[in-house]
Amino acid sequence: MHSTAELIVDYSENGKGIVLEEGYHPETIHYSVRSEFDGKVYMTYERERNIAIKRRRRKSEEYVSVHLDKVPLVLADPDKVIVDPDYPDSTHIYYRMFELESGERIGLAVPVFTKATRYVYTVHSWKGERVKGEARGLTITWLKR
């Protein structure tokens, strides 16, 4: 039985090499997901491995490494999407909260490069309150709120 996350994931290019931007080292496609805001967005094996290792370094963020399978749901059906105030021409940030069977609530933040080939930069924890820039009092450009 496929989960919802699996049903929205396109594995047709799984295993293919991809250069996400000119000058980058090649990476290997894991899957792509279609986003309402950015179209086809890639996740690579290298990024997933990298994210998993990074998030295990801190106990409060470790859950991210365990729930990377939820990234397609964040991209396909986010709670909030903003234009990254640091990169207004090239990056959107997707946010979504999940309630686990245990009742625990976890949040994921997923910055996506939006020019040319779209891809997931990284995944980090989110507490479900403010989005990037709000604490600094910046005017947020919302794509979904």
């Binding site: 990074k54 370094r57 801190r58 409060s60 990254d84 990169y87």
Partner: protein
């Protein structure tokens, strides 16, 4: 090499640079937020029970496009007077200011066009 200052774990992959303070893996953190006055640099700060610890010690740093933002970040950091010193054992850096840490990483990863790395071995040695 003996570490002087806070020990940083480094991860770099095609532009995405992340530094994690490894000394206290149990500490809670804020969400990533922009560091005032330094475009492109996001930080997390230490918390305990939801409150900032030690006036908000930085425990994580993230740059999504280090190859583009690196020089500006290094320049901005060099003008600030962060009191903390950092060590990055796998890079041979010890007791350095944050701008020196970023300069070393920029020279290595961006100018040196080195392969992406996340260093799981370091996690073992830090455990």
């Amino acid at each position: 090499m003996m570490s002087v200052g806070k020990t940083l774990g480094v991860s770099y992959l095609n532009g995405v640079l992340e530094l994690t303070v490894l000394d206290d893996p149990e500490v809670g953190t804020t969400d990533y937020e922009m560091l005032e006055g330094i475009p492109g640099l996001e930080v997390t700060r230490a918390t305990e029970n939801g409150k900032l610890l030690h006036r908000g010690d930085i425990v994580g740093l993230l740059v999504l496009r280090f190859h583009e933002k690196g020089p500006g970040i290094i320049h901005s950091l060099s003008k600030l007077s962060f009191p903390d010193r950092y060590s990055v054992p796998e890079m041979g850096v010890s007791g350095a200011t944050l701008d020196r840490v970023f300069q070393t990483l920029y020279d290595y990863y961006v100018l040196g066009e080195r392969e992406p790395t996340t260093v799981p071995e370091l996690m073992t040695t830090q455990a």
